[in-house]
Symmetry: C2
Subunit: 228 residues, 2 copies
């Protein structure tokens, strides 16, 4: 068990070192040697966890995946909002999440399958939007696939702009503004009026997730979710 | 005059070479030497036009600025749409525009003022939105600064996703989808019904711009614009 803990810590420190190196030089120019030096691990340890620089990068990309354990409420559009708000909060506070998003936007990372990162996000949003449709929360003309893709792309760009402007200090507000611009075009008016789009919501919901019991949070939750 | 033409061509070939080098390695790892080699120009020629790598990059960023000569119609929201649609078309066809947008999103380009590129775009959109407000085309609650910023960021992300997915082959459609998601939240219903949001509009308007008489197109047009 202690050995397993150590392996998890080693893997995490490799990913954190790689996040810094990718962030500073971009994917194309980063080397495994630099990542080793920064992480303070042996080559053998790195290759125990990852077979190549590309695989390390895929590990970093995976770290910015959506949380599987947002609290389930009655409104699915609120769940959609919470995904974005919690991601904004994580982007402000977790270097690994920051590096994952940077990699997804790094157009110099030719060999890397950056599309998979966008795809995973869009799939998750599409699933939530389908649940919202089933509950009658969406306007009838909405194509959930189009909406999921546009939200994913728009979020990626808004966070990049916030990063360039002020190192993401205003990201909560910017994501709130994005949602206030898009939701009127997809939500029924009654549902829209009930949504909490405040910029501080991300932190609140994130802390709520962290406080969920370990047993519920360590295992991936089923897509349908079960209320606590 | 011939000498001036040559200088313009040299400047352009430096920018195009730099666009490729930045695109392949990211800003941080690109060197002036590589740009010289790719452009086939002397160091003296480069330093005649640009004082540093950073200045070359600012030149590339400037190349993706909005066209100053969109045809003026009666609807300012249509002009807003046309800005996005023409940019989508230019991004599909002009390597220099592609490189400018990549640089603006390159989080490894620490020393570079990427914010200026976002700012210039948002300022231009805010100006058009203010004109739209003056003509009564906007819903009353709209904050034109917020809307300009969210559109700029969202566009940047949507194009990045399209680039990762299919090298921007579907960008016209994606920008059309973005606009169809945002405009219902900002436009009056009557104006919304009159807008042309078709994915092919970018190409049409771009070719129209190219066909404008040289005298009108070579000088920057005033912000107010004068109908031909």
């Amino acid at each position: 068990m202690a050995q397993q803990d150590r392996a998890i810590r080693t893997r995490r420190s490799i990913l954190e070192a790689a996040a810094k190196v990718f962030g500073e030089r971009g994917y194309a120019s980063a080397t495994v040697e630099e990542i080793l030096g920064r992480a303070g691990v042996t080559r053998g340890a790195l290759y125990f966890h990852f077979s190549s620089k590309e695989e390390v990068a895929l590990g970093v990309l995976a770290a910015q995946m959506p949380l599987d354990r947002l609290p389930e409420g009655s409104s699915k559009l609120q769940k959609l909002v919470d995904h974005g708000m919690v991601m904004a909060y994580r982007l402000q506070h977790d270097p690994l999440v920051q590096a994952g998003v940077s990699l997804a936007l790094d157009q110099g990372a030719g060999e890397l399958d950056r599309n998979a990162a966008f795809r995973a996000w869009a799939d998750q949003l599409e699933q939530i939007l389908a649940e919202a449709r089933a509950q009658g929360e969406l306007l009838p003309h909405i194509d959930v696939s189009d909406t999921a893709e546009v939200l994913t792309g728009a979020f990626a760009g808004v966070q990049a702009m916030s990063q360039a402007r002020c190192n993401r200090a205003d990201l909560g507000r910017r994501v709130s503004v994005l949602l206030r611009h898009v939701l009127p075009g997809i939500s029924t008016p009654a549902m829209l009026a009930a949504l909490d789009l405040s910029p501080e919501r991300g932190e609140r919901v994130f802390l709520e997730c962290e406080a969920l019991p370990e047993t519920a949070s360590s295992a991936p939750r089923s897509r349908e979710g079960t209320s606590p």
